[in-house]
Amino acid sequence: MQPKGYTGRILFIDLTKQKYVVKPLEVSIAKQFIGGSGLAAYLLWNMLNENVHPLSPDNVLVVATGPATGALAPSAGRFMVASKSPITGIWGESHAGGFFGPEIKYAGYDAIVITGRSSEPVSLIINDDEVTFYRSQHLWGLDTRTATNIILDSLGRDLHVMVIGPAGENMVKFASIMVDYYRALGRTGMGAVMGSKNLKAIAVRGSRGVEVHNPDEFTKVVEEFLYINTRGPWALPAQLSLGKYGTPNLVSLMNAIGRLPTKNHWTGYWEHADKISGEALLKYRISRGSCFSCMIMCKHITMVGGGKYAGTVTGGPEYESLVSLGSNLLIDNAEAVIYMNQLCNLYGLDTISTGKVISFLFECYERGLVSEEELRGLKPTWGNEETAIELIKMITYRQGIGNVLAEGVARAARIIGRGSEYYALHVKGLEVSAQDPRAHKSVGVTWATSVRGADHLRSLTTVDELGYRDIAIERFGAEMANEVCNRLSEGYKGVVVKDQEDLFALVDSVIMCKYGTMWPPMYYFDFIARLLYPLTGIEEFSNVKHLREAAERIVNLKRCFNLREGIGKEYETIPKRFTSEPMPTGPAKGHVCNLEPMLKEYYLYRRWDYNTGLPYGETLEELGLNFVLVELEKRYSLPRRGNGGSS
């Protein structure tokens, strides 16, 4: 029986030959890997190998949706892209909301798999079963907004578009893809992969719908969804924070607990934080928006009406962008930050990585590690907004020092040398996100183990960050609750992160939003089980145990993808700044992150060998990943729990 929820079809597009073919999605794969991130991991594991260069035609770009995408489920507008990342050389994935994902489902596909390289700039126009290779020389070089508008005006306003800007075309290693103007597939340089394929945009329109296995049962889920968001215990807190301010609300909250990255993560407290806080941004707000099928509605559009940056209209800026481009550079002019956010969106740059490479240069300059000659008259001093804006342009077009920074902070530090590596804050090559492991200890293990590098979206935990005791008791038991809720203690953080990573692996495959699961913690495994069974009719999905196992399978598969690339335990660490430099100021003053005990615990609960960082053979077998085991054993001798395993 064909499960509902899925369309059961995957579209394979070869850009080199300009051909496409539709293949079925096997039910057994859907059962094991669910969709979204899990499905992409399965496809990429099979289609790639360790010899494929991320920017070569052989790399594969997967655009995937999940079973919930397009239905009336919590934040079910999300979709994801995955590929081998040009910035890290390992697993790369990025998720976005907006309205593009549902349109893929309505056009009749669960995923789109793109291979090859077009000989000239091209866009893909997908109209249900018809795929057009649309010559796009006229779009090449345009910013994301103009390109989106030209496509919509010439081909129909009801299309939904994902597009790269000049940064993606120039293969800046952290280029983003912009969706529906302001939603960004930001991290891990997916825009550069599109650029390397000469693919400017994908536009989709679909006339079908998402069918449901059991409409009566699903109606109950929908009613529950409405109840949770209007009368549930989290409804009001969500509306008063995310709803009213959006993610910028976090700026003052994070400053209050000393976790607001400031001055290239030198400290976690900034006395000028109120100038870029949610409250300060309210006066620039022109619209409150939302993604598809979302009742939280945290997407806002901002405009600067006067002054030097008059005429700036942009989505966001979100918390991560505000921090990366604001407090992290000591820029306290909210209008300048909004303008820089717009520039990054238009050029198609990841705001997090952009902010972190700029702050890296600022710190190198402060410490005399870059020469005036290399800078050609630039003055990269803290708080200098003109220089930061100039640098964004230089990175996009790879001019001067911008060409070095466009390689990402890890490679830039290797090029600059002179001890600048210490100030290059990254894990596995990906710039760190806007948290600080010294003020929130579990972030250390989150960053170290995250499959795509220093990343807050694979396993960032809020139970300890905000001290939700009830939830800690519910998920981990009363004994552990006190320790779990203490964000400044390392106790039990390995378990908490493992649990959260499993939840997010599932959320990323279903696909739902982190808002609703990360914060507020409204949906957990049990809700997802109640959602998926009536939607798909796959009986295993009604079983929480099966879902947890599927989540672990997805986490393990993605980790094995990295192991195949040779990135294992020796890279699972965090920058020394967080482990050896005590927090200099703020509420978390004096703290450092003691990573090892948390990491050890995490490995134990993951059923991986702590000494080698490899999964036990049995772990992979139990998860049904025998095909992964066979391939990994060509490279490693996987430990067995019987011989030498400590657990």
């Binding site: 907004r145 103007y181 069918e211 209007t230 928006g289 099928s293 509605m297």
Partner: protein
């Protein structure tokens, strides 16, 4: 039910463009999720975050007068379609000033206020949609 003169209204300043109204509409009428099947369609400009236009029945009754087969009729103050009489000529669709019909399998469908409790208004958590 006291439905005299009621129809669905939208306060565009509150609308966020989330599409939930369209989803619950298509789900309750056809059992599938697709904004294009819905009887309420809000065209939202994502660049500036504004409602551009809305397609929803104002229960004006113009289609009732034009239908050659008498398939559209007043039930109280609501215009309904009798699909047994409808032959799919789509005169109503072309007549409608508000682009309120959606056509599924060649037959026109329109808003019937869900028997007095419009689901789109119920599910609009912002309160942008209301029946009045």
């Amino acid at each position: 039910m006291g439905l005299q003169g009621r129809r669905i209204n939208l306060d565009p300043s509150l609308c966020t463009g989330c599409s939930i109204c369209s989803l619950i509409c298509s789900f309750s009428k056809f059992g599938i999720f697709s904004p294009r099947y819905s009887m309420i369609r809000i065209y939202y400009n994502h660049e500036f975050g504004r409602v551009e236009s809305i397609s929803i029945c104002r229960q004006c009754g113009e289609c009732v007068d034009r239908c050659p087969y008498g398939a559209l009729r007043w039930s109280g103050s609501i215009v309904t379609v009798d699909h047994n009489l409808c032959r799919g000529c789509l005169t109503c669709v072309h007549t409608c000033k508000y682009n309120a019909f959606s056509v599924v399998d060649g037959k026109p469908y329109k808003c019937d206020l869900c028997n007095g409790e419009p689901l789109c208004a119920k599910y609009c958590v912002r309160g942008a949609l209301y029946a009045a």
